[in-house]
């Protein structure tokens, strides 16, 4: 009897326990991420330094406070933003393959950055004298993402069917990508290399001001999500059922476009395209928590996304060496096997 009772209470609290475990893991990953790098600094020293302000060496204070902590924060923010965008889109489109980039958001950001970096060289102008300000990149990316988003939204306003919107988004994405290809084809080697590196993604290189902007945008982007948790749950049964339960799918569609546009658009603009996180993390969260309830899934995916990006970034730093790998390559390299193994273990389509 007591055994059954314990079992029941375990079952009820399971999601909460899992969330707490995930939070602890998040803190550990953060410390691991900050302590690894070209110079290894122990987590104890970092904690001591952050809380007391006393550092063993001034250079370490520099490394930690102005380089590694912002980078780790960006990893957390990007992980949260991308995976929450992915979850929203997968639920809204009822499509397990939907990700934050299906509405052409990342291609849009890519276009903005490509125009900034490549057009000068493609049209024979020396636009910025080679060195490009990171703020300029972020602004160009945001502009590009918003441009594509607004066009997709105009279409979304005309079509009332989410599947059509998905296809239109994909088409926009490929059209924009081909414009980028044309630009790349005509541009010089130097500019092309810069753009290629941007397109591999990078979490580092952001100054504190930019991190604050990113924090602000992500917080704003998450507001519509919190406001429509119930609607996302209702959407699980499809648009018709959602309507019959008093949910307004059109309103939800706009909120989703706004939120994913802000989250994914801004992250892509600052960090370059980061693949994989948006699609995979929601699935992993669904498998671990075994639930479809978005009140749980949103925090769960956010924490998991942050953990995943922190760990991937730790790997990307190639601990002990001064070199770093592009984050976009690492997320897929590390993430793909994890997801494949999860998928093979469990019945994937049934879980969705």
């Amino acid at each position: 009897m007591s055994c059954i009772f314990i079992n029941n209470s375990m079952k009820k609290n399971r999601p909460i326990i899992l969330l707490s475990v995930a939070l602890i893991l998040l803190v550990l990953s953060f410390l691991l991420n900050v302590s690894l790098g070209s110079v290894s600094i122990s987590p104890g020293e970092i904690l001591n330094g952050i809380f007391t302000g006393e550092w063993a060496k001034a250079s370490r204070e520099q490394i930690i406070l102005n380089y590694r902590v912002p980078k780790a924060l960006v990893a957390i923010l990007a992980g949260i933003g991308l995976s929450i965008s992915g979850l929203q889109m997968q639920t809204f489109f009822r499509n397990p393959l939907a990700g934050p980039f299906v509405l052409g958001i990342s291609s849009g950001a890519g276009l903005g950055v490509a125009i900034l970096m490549l057009s000068g060289s493609a049209f024979g102008l020396v636009a910025f004298g080679g060195a490009i300000n990171p703020w300029a990149i972020a602004i160009a990316g945001t502009l590009g993402a918003s441009l594509v988003l607004v066009s997709v939204s105009l279409v979304a306003w005309r079509v009332r069917d989410s599947m059509t919107l998905l296809i239109v988004g994909l088409m926009f994405g490929s059209a924009v990508s081909s414009v980028i290809s044309v630009l790349s084809y005509f541009s010089g080697a130097e500019a092309l290399k810069l753009f290629t590196i941007w397109s591999m993604g990078s979490l580092g290189g952001l100054v504190w001001d930019q991190v604050w902007v990113l924090i602000l945008v992500i917080m704003i982007g998450i507001i519509p999500v919190i406001a429509s948790v119930k609607s996302y749950n209702g959407m699980l049964l499809g648009e018709s059922y959602a309507k019959s339960m008093g949910i307004n799918p059109d309103r939800l569609r706009w909120l989703m476009i706004l939120s994913t546009g802000l989250l994914a658009g801004c992250i892509t603009a600052f960090c370059g395209p980061i693949a994989f996180v948006g699609i995979a993390v929601p699935h992993v969260a669904r498998m671990i928590w075994r639930t479809s309830d978005h009140r749980l899934l949103f925090p769960a995916t956010a924490i998991l996304g942050a953990i995943l990006l922190l760990l991937c970034d730790a790997v990307a730093q190639l601990p002990g060496s001064a070199q770093t790998l592009p984050i976009n390559a690492v997320t897929s390299l590390v993430g793909a096997p994890i997801v494949i193994s999860l998928v093979l273990k469990k019945n994937f389509s049934k879980e969705f």
């Binding site: 009822r94 406001a227 948790v229 119930k230 749950n233 209702g234 699980l236 049964l237 499809g238 018709s240 059922y241 309507k243 019959s244 339960m245 008093g246 949910i247 307004n248 669904r286 075994r290 639930t291 479809s292 309830d293 009140r295 019945n347 389509s349 049934k350 879980e351 969705f352």
Partner: protein
């Protein structure tokens, strides 16, 4: 009769595609009463789903009106409507991860605050919906791991938990086995009586509908909708409107649809409930005419024909075929 839940008055609806206007339903009049289960029957493509959409307020009437609880349906907001009216649709997608309890709890979405947290009232509504559909034992099962029939009952429980006055079900028994079909229709009939709901079921199962429905709405191409007690429609022969051509007709004695082409005259004597099955087998086997009379005996079952005795219908039909009749 002042307590109708849904009243349609001269309702015409259709779809517009560019400049083309296609009217699907022309000036329909109908009434749906609480405490009654109404079955909507009609051939494919006649506009049953269109009518359902109009009742759900998803299609704007071209002319005429639909009133829900005395108020025109267009004046309801989405949220208000969801408290009056719940549906079970044919859409098959369901997240396999969700438990039956969670699914039924979704019916409370119109009643909860923006977070969707269930209050005591909501939990009670979920429990009673599970009880009414007799699936309390399934509460913690996942939707991906239960049978189609159980899932359909869970969908009905969800609609019930939504606690509207009207429930509309679009072919709730499609894809189900025979027992589940009877089970679900009886369940719906029960609910309409016990909870005084107005239930509209779109179905193609004429026989089960005859047994369970309080009212029939017959929708046929180009004719005004016929509504009435199923039995009245049978007696007046109006039920044959469902069968537009002469190939089939509704057999009043046997309560089912039969092929009209029965030019074969067999002279069979014996208890009528057995005679009809022998006749049935003969017609199917293509035996056209027999010169002598057939006698069916009950105990032990045997068929006598021209001095020969057959122990089963199968044996008899084989015998007739080999005679080259």
């Amino acid at each position: 009769m002042g307590k109708a839940a849904v009243i349609g008055k001269d309702l015409s609806v259709g779809y517009t595609k560019g400049k083309l206007k296609k009217e699907i339903l022309h000036e329909l009049n109908f009434t749906l009463f609480p405490g009654e289960m109404t079955c909507l029957l009609g051939p494919n493509g006649v506009g049953k789903s269109t009518l359902v959409k109009a009742i759900l307020g998803q299609l704007k009437p071209w002319s005429g009106s639909v009133h829900l609880s005395g108020k025109e349906i267009e004046t309801y907001s989405n949220e208000e409507l969801s408290k009056e009216l719940s549906v079970v649709l044919t859409e098959p997608f369901l997240p396999g991860n969700m438990t039956v309890g969670q699914l039924v709890a979704m019916g409370r979405i119109p009643h909860t605050s923006w977070t969707g947290k269930l209050a005591e009232v909501d939990l009670q509504a979920v429990e009673s919906a599970l009880e009414a559909t007799k699936i309390t034992y399934l509460k913690d099962e996942r939707l991906g791991e239960i049978s189609d029939g159980q899932r359909q009952k869970a969908m009905i429980a969800r609609a019930l938990a939504q606690d509207g006055k009207v429930m509309v079900l679009d072919e709730p028994t499609a894809h189900l086995d025979l027992v589940n079909r009877f089970d679900i229709m009886h369940l719906l009939h029960d609910i309409s009586k016990k909870q005084q709901k107005a239930i509209l079921v779109v179905t193609h199962d004429l026989e089960i509908a005859l047994e369970t429905a309080d009212k029939f709405w017959l929708l046929t191409c180009g004719l005004p909708m016929i509504s009435g007690l199923p039995e009245d429609l049978v007696i007046s022969g109006e039920i044959n409107q469902l069968l537009p051509d002469d190939r089939f007709h509704f057999n009043k004695d046997r309560g089912r649809i039969e092929s009209t082409i029965s030019e074969f005259k067999f002279d069979i004597s014996g208890p009528p409930e057995m005679v009809q099955w022998v006749k049935n087998a003969l017609q199917k086997s293509g035996v056209s005419a027999l010169d002598s009379s057939i006698r069916v005996v009950v105990d032990p079952f045997s068929i006598a024909y021209k001095g020969q005795i057959y122990r089963s219908v199968g044996e008899f039909v084989e015998g007739m075929k080999s005679r080259g009749c």
